[in-house]
Symmetry: C2
Subunit: 180 residues, 2 copies
């Protein structure tokens, strides 16, 4: 394609995640679990993460860039899933959440961490700032994940009216949350 | 700091933005405008962008990765602000939106496009998919911006209860939207 597509873009991590979460939520081996066991495992992980407190340790040389972030209750964390093998960045299509009972979909139509440019985005509650360290709640990033960017959560950038979702995603929500 | 912070991460654009928007919304020269003129310019730009239809032209070789994205009404576009000079990635603190009447804040506490790793995130309405081209509404990316990633908008990843914002951000909203 065009010139812009040939040019590599370089990121330099600005910090690192410190978390009790040591392994990715879904793993390749989990594909062998029967659906009920798999769902129960995911539900349990979601319960744990909901109350998990992690730290974002930002490069002390960049501490001034955090000035004023403590006035926001929520921040957007952009991070790199470093435990996903580089070879999986070429994956084209997957069963959502590895569930073979759901139709295969393109990677861009899923939130799979294995994607061409694995920059993952989580919006989390900021509990506290101590100098260059941010304490956050319910971050799904694994311990050691490089932090790519921190942004304040600002509603104007996320205004979504009447969102529409595919049936397979509603199925996943029903299976995890119960309900209709 | 630690090893993870020394390692560069490489992105390869997966597509490019085609838009009638040719220059960044706020420019350095605008800092000379008096506040009322500056606000009027921003308001006018926001009106234009609200109805702007842009195209995300994805690398045809990756078209299969889009399969099923048309079942979502909204997508998250991750893109690179290529017109921001690389030298500005070292900027530590700014007046939000370049407004000298507002207190200086760290880059991570703002949505400034000039940041150490300028991966910008916009949630937009997906109007249509034609093969490898996505038509979207109200994208603030400039023509030619490299597309880094496309994700479906999934509410579960953005749940935010009772967000709290700093006074300077409320001031910006009041100035742009009117109201108390």
């Amino acid at each position: 394609m065009e010139d812009n597509l040939l040019k590599e873009l370089i990121l330099r991590p600005v910090g690192v995640v410190r978390s009790a979460l040591k392994t990715p939520l879904l793993q390749t081996g989990d594909a062998d679990l029967e659906l009920p066991a798999r769902l129960e495992k995911i539900r349990e992980q979601r319960r744990q993460i909901k109350n998990l407190v992690s730290e974002l340790v930002i490069d002390p040389g960049l501490e001034g860039m955090l000035e004023g972030i403590e006035d926001f209750s929520h921040i957007v964390v952009v991070y790199w899933p470093h435990l996903i093998p580089a070879g999986r960045r070429g994956l084209r299509q997957v069963h959502p959440m590895g569930r073979k009972d759901l139709p295969v979909r393109g990677i861009f139509a899923t939130r799979s961490p294995a994607r061409p440019n694995p920059v993952l985005i989580s919006t989390v509650r900021l509990l506290e700032r101590e100098g260059n360290v941010l304490k956050v709640q319910a971050l799904d990033a694994v311990d050691g994940s490089p932090v790519v960017d921190i942004k304040p959560y600002v509603e104007i950038y996320q205004t979504v009216e009447n969102p529409r979702f595919p049936e397979w995603l509603r199925q996943i929500h029903r299976d995890l949350e119960g309900g209709p």
